[in-house]
């Protein structure tokens, strides 16, 4: 998996990377709660056509700035937060594959939940990322969030 900016990665996010993240942060014995969100590409039907994949593009330099701001904001609000990870795919992600990972670690559960939830919302609002839904018949459509 090639890193573009620290928050963007080519292709789908693999389940094994999620296990790696947990192993990495469970080293921190102050951590009591992990909250994960994973977004996956659904095989939606759109007007009789079935989604095959989503091709994501991003304004990479701007993503880095927005992600930094989101993290700063959340670490300001949640003093119990230990770690916040944001990973978004660029390029092709097929149905049944994961395109977004948000991972919050804190001492107690409440802040892990809230930080994870709010980060997902902020990523959707603020990340300059676009998605092109590609259907099984090779046609495509640009989607809003």
């Amino acid at each position: 998996m090639k890193t573009i900016v620290p928050y963007l990665f080519h292709g789908p996010i693999k389940p094994s990377e999620i296990a790696n993240l947990i192993e990495k942060y469970s080293g921190n014995r102050d951590a009591g709660a992990y909250s994960f969100f994973l977004g996956q590409v659904r095989a939606d039907r759109v007007g009789g056509k079935r989604v095959r994949e989503i091709v994501y593009t991003a304004y990479e330099d701007m993503v880095a700035g927005e992600a930094g701001r989101i993290k700063e904001e959340l670490f300001d609000i949640y003093d119990d937060l230990i770690h916040l990870e944001i990973r978004h795919s660029v390029g092709s992600v097929k149905t049944g594959e994961i395109s977004l990972l948000v991972f919050a670690v804190s001492r107690h559960r409440e802040q892990a939940f809230k930080a994870c939830n709010e980060t997902v919302e902020k990523v959707k609002q603020k990340f300059p990322v676009w998605k092109k839904e590609v259907y099984e018949d090779e046609t495509h459509e640009w989607k809003e969030s």
């Binding site: 977004g39 994501y56 998605k131 809003e144």
Partner: protein, 77 residues
């Protein structure tokens, strides 16, 4: 003086390019005039504009090397 203009998402299908270098436009208004001539369809789309990766909401003077981007509604996740 030159600026870089970037297009994203559906707008790349209007511009047919991801990036454009434009010389001698002084400000956003001048750039919009220029682009509306090149790409009359641009007006049909909803977008925000950023200068050097900060979204702007009104006319703005450019300086050499500015990076101006046309951003359709974000669709991450």
């Amino acid at each position: 003086m030159k600026i870089e203009v970037l297009f994203f998402g559906v707008l790349t299908e209007v511009s047919k390019v991801d990036k454009l270098v434009i010389h001698d436009v002084k400000n956003l208004e001048g750039l919009m005039n220029e682009l509306n001539i090149r790409y009359p369809d641009l007006q049909k789309y909803t977008f925000q504009i950023s200068v050097n990766r900060e979204i702007i909401h009104k006319n703005k003077s450019f300086k050499d090397g500015d990076e101006v981007a046309f951003l359709p509604p974000f669709a991450g996740g």
